[in-house]
C-alpha cells in the first residue's frame, strides 16, 4: 500500500475550554481540557508540574475506572474504530478506551480535585443522526480523523466521554498567549518579516 493506513489529528497546541453537559441535564461547567500533556504545558494556564500531576492522575484513573472489554472489537463497538487500546490490569489483558484527553476543573486547578481522564465519545451517547450539541463532533470522529481547524478562525468542538459514561463536549478557544519568565532579557523584537510585508503574499509555494 502506498498510503498511510490511518490519519489522526490531535488538534495540537489548541487550548480546549470545556463546557460539560451531563446526560441528566446538569448546568454546564467550565473546565480545562487538554488533549495531551504537551498541550497542557504549552497552554500555560496551570504550571508544568500541575500538568504532569493531572496527566498522571488521569492516566491512573483511566486504568482503574474505564470500562474493560475482553476483545478489541467489543471495545471498538462502543468507542469507535481506533478508539481503544490494550492494557494489562492486575495481570490480565483487557481492552479499554484510549486516553483522548484529560480535564481539570478550572476553579480547582490548585489541585484539590483529581483530574479526570477523557475517552472517545461512545456510540450509544451519540447514535447516528443525533443532533445534541455534544454529538456534533462525535459523529465525525467515528471516522479516523477528527478535531482541529487548519487555517480557519471559527471555533470548533470535540466530543469525549468520561469513565462514568457522561458525554463531554470541549469547545476550542483561541490559544491564550501566556507570559513567562526568561533567563535573559529581550534585546529587540521584529527583525524578521519585513520583506513579507513588502511582498504582501507569496512567502510560500
Amino acid at each position: 500500500m502506498k498510503r498511510s493506513s490511518q490519519i489522526g489529528l490531535a488538534a495540537a497546541g489548541v487550548l480546549l475550554v470545556a463546557t460539560v453537559w451531563s446526560m441528566t441535564g446538569e448546568d454546564p461547567q467550565e473546565n480545562l481540557v487538554y488533549n495531551s500533556l504537551s498541550d497542557c504545558r504549552s497552554a500555560g494556564q496551570v504550571s508544568a508540574s500541575q500538568c504532569e500531576t493531572a496527566f498522571s492522575e488521569a492516566s491512573a484513573a483511566r486504568l482503574k475506572d474505564a470500562p474493560k472489554f475482553q476483545s478489541q472489537s467489543a471495545c471498538e463497538a462502543q468507542y469507535g474504530a481506533n478508539g481503544c487500546g490494550s492494557a494489562s490490569i492486575g495481570g490480565a489483558q483487557y481492552f479499554i478506551p484510549a486516553l483522548a484527553g484529560f480535564m481539570l476543573a478550572r476553579g480547582l486547578s490548585g489541585g484539590a480535585a483529581q483530574a479526570q481522564p477523557l475517552m472517545p465519545p461512545t456510540t450509544s451517547a451519540c447514535p447516528p443522526g443525533s443532533t445534541q450539541p455534544e454529538c456534533q463532533q462525535a459523529r465525525s470522529s467515528s471516522s479516523s480523523s477528527s478535531g482541529g481547524s487548519y487555517g480557519g478562525s471559527g471555533s470548533r468542538s470535540r466530543a469525549y466521554s468520561t469513565t462514568s459514561g457522561r458525554s463531554v463536549t470541549a469547545a476550542f478557544a483561541a490559544g491564550a498567549r501566556v507570559g513567562s519568565t526568561a533567563a535573559t532579557s529581550t534585546a529587540s523584537r521584529g527583525g524578521f518579516g519585513s520583506i513579507a510585508r513588502s511582498f504582501s503574499s507569496h512567502s510560500s509555494s
Binding site: 487555517g151 513567562s180 529581550t186 512567502s203
Partner: protein
C-alpha cells in the same frame, strides 16, 4: 495516467471542513476540486515519479557538496557571501531536513521532467496529506472509484516520524512560525504543529513578526521563551536579507528547513543540475540568463526569476514573444531560462503539474495542481489522485 470526471460529494464542503480544511475556496474560486481526479497505474507512480524523485534528491545533494566548495556557484545563486559559512556549517553538521516538493511535468509517457524544486517553504501539504486521503477513503466507500484503489500518500506518518528524528535527544521543544495574515501558510503550520505534537514534541507557535532577540544572542518567541529549534515557513533568502539575518549564526538555533536548503530553493538550481548532468532524463535544458548557451534552448522556453514563489513572474516565451506570464514582485536577483516541458499532462483543455513530496528526503506523496494556463500559480486548483487497482 488519465483524468477521470467524477461527481463531487454532495456535501463536499462540509466533509473537507470537518477535517479543518478552511481554504478550499480562495477569493471565491474553487481551490479543492473533486469534480475530477487523476488516475495512475502503480508502475507510473513507482517507475516514473517515486524513483526519479529520489534520484533527483541525490543529485541535489551532490550539487550542494559542489556548490559549497565553489564560491562562484554561490555567487551565481545570489546567496549573500556573509552567510556562506553559516550554510556550510549547517551542511557539515548534517542538519536534517523535513520536507520538500518537486514539481514535475509528466503525462504518463516517457520520463518526468523537473520543473522546479520547492525545497524551503512548500505548501499544499495539508490537502495532500489529509484531505485527499479522506477523499480516497470516501470515494471507494461510495463506489465512485474502484475498491482496492490506492494513493501515493504516506505523508502523515512520515512527517510524524521525521519530526521525532530532526534532533537528538528527542522529544525536544519545537517552535513553529509563519507570517501573519496568510490563512494558507497558517493552515500549513497548524497541520505541522499537529504532526509535531503527535511525534511527542513540545510544540509552540509564534508569528515570525513576533520573534525577538535575547541579550545572549538567542531568538525568543512572543512570550520571551528562548527558541532552540524553529520550523519556519518563511524563505531563507528573505531571512538572510532582513535585520535579524546577522543574528542567525550566533543564535544557536536549529532551523527547519536547514540553511543548506537555500541552495536548492533557487531556480538557479535548474541550470546548475543541467550543467552537472547534461542530458539527464529527468531534467530540462536550462541556463542562467546571459549564458551564451541559452541560444541552444528550444524556441519555446520559460524565463524564471531565481527567487520566485507560486508561479510569480514566470514567463513562457516562444521565439522571443511572450505567450503567457504571471505578474509578481520577483526577479531582481536574475533569471534562468529553461526549455518548456513538452510532456505537461493536458486533458479537457487544462494543464496539470505534479507535485512530488519528499519527507526526510524520501519520496512519499503526490499532489496534482490543474490550471487553464501552463503556468501553475497559487490559485491553480488541487485535484485528488488515485492509483488504479
Amino acid at each position: 495516467m488519465r483524468r477521470v470526471t467524477l461527481p463531487p460529494r454532495a456535501d463536499w464542503v462540509e466533509q473537507v471542513e470537518r477535517l479543518g480544511f478552511a481554504f478550499h475556496t480562495i477569493d471565491g474560486e474553487t481551490y479543492w476540486d473533486e469534480s475530477a481526479a487523476i488516475a495512475f497505474t502503480l508502475e507510473e507512480i513507482e517507475r516514473d515519479i517515486e524513483g526519479p524523485t529520489e534520484a533527483i534528491e541525490q543529485l541535489c545533494f551532490a550539487f550542494i557538496e559542489k556548490a559549497l566548495d565553489h564560491d562562484e556557484i554561490l555567487t551565481k545563486l545570489a546567496i549573500p557571501a556573509e552567510h556562506w559559512d553559516y550554510i556550510r556549517a549547517s551542511w557539515q553538521r548534517g542538519e536534517r531536513n523535513l520536507y520538500g516538493r518537486l514539481d514535475l511535468a509528466y503525462d504518463g509517457r516517457g520520463p518526468a521532467k523537473l520543473l522546479e524544486y520547492n525545497a524551503d517553504t512548500p505548501t499544499a501539504l495539508f490537502e495532500s496529506s489529509v484531505v485527499q486521503w479522506d477523499w480516497l477513503e470516501q470515494a471507494m466507500a461510495r463506489g465512485a472509484i474502484p475498491r482496492g484503489s490506492d494513493q501515493f500518500n504516506s505523508l502523515h506518518e512520515r512527517l510524524i516520524a521525521a519530526f521525532a528524528g530532526l534532533r537528538e535527544p528527542s522529544p525536544y521543544r519545537l517552535h513553529l512560525t509563519c507570517v501573519q495574515g496568510s490563512p494558507e501558510d497558517k493552515g500549513t503550520v497548524d497541520y505541522l504543529t499537529d504532526c509535531a505534537v503527535q511525534a511527542g514534541l513540545d510544540a509552540r507557535f509564534t508569528y515570525i513578526e513576533e520573534l525577538g532577540l535575547l541579550t545572549d544572542g538567542r531568538f525568543c518567541d512572543g512570550a520571551n521563551q528562548p527558541i532552540e529549534t524553529l520550523f519556519k515557513l518563511y524563505p531563507w533568502e528573505w531571512m538572510f536579507r532582513e535585520s535579524y539575518g546577522s543574528a542567525l549564526a550566533g543564535s544557536g538555533c536549529q532551523f527547519v528547513e536547514p540553511p543548506w536548503k537555500a541552495i536548492l530553493s533557487n531556480k538557479g538550481l535548474l541550470a546548475c543540475l543541467w550543467e552537472m548532468e547534461p542530458g539527464h532524463p529527468n531534467l530540462l535544458p536550462a541556463f542562467f540568463e546571459g549564458d551564451p548557451r541559452c541560444a541552444t534552448l528550444s524556441a519555446r522556453h520559460v524565463r524564471k526569476p531565481l527567487y520566485s514563489r507560486e508561479g510569480a513572474n514566470v514567463t513562457l516565451m516562444e521565439r522571443g514573444r511572450v505567450l503567457d506570464s504571471d505578474d509578481g514582485p520577483y526577479g531582481a536577483e536574475g533569471h534562468v531560462l529553461q526549455d518548456a516541458a513538452t510532456n505537461l499532462f493536458s486533458a479537457d483543455g487544462k494543464y496539470a503539474v505534479l507535485g512530488s513530496w519528499l519527507v526526510a528526503s524520501q519520496a512519499c506523496g503526490l499532489c496534482v495542481r490543474e490550471d487553464a494556463s501552463p503556468i501553475t500559480k497559487n490559485t491553480s486548483r488541487f485535484l485528488p489522485h488515485y492509483i488504479e487497482p
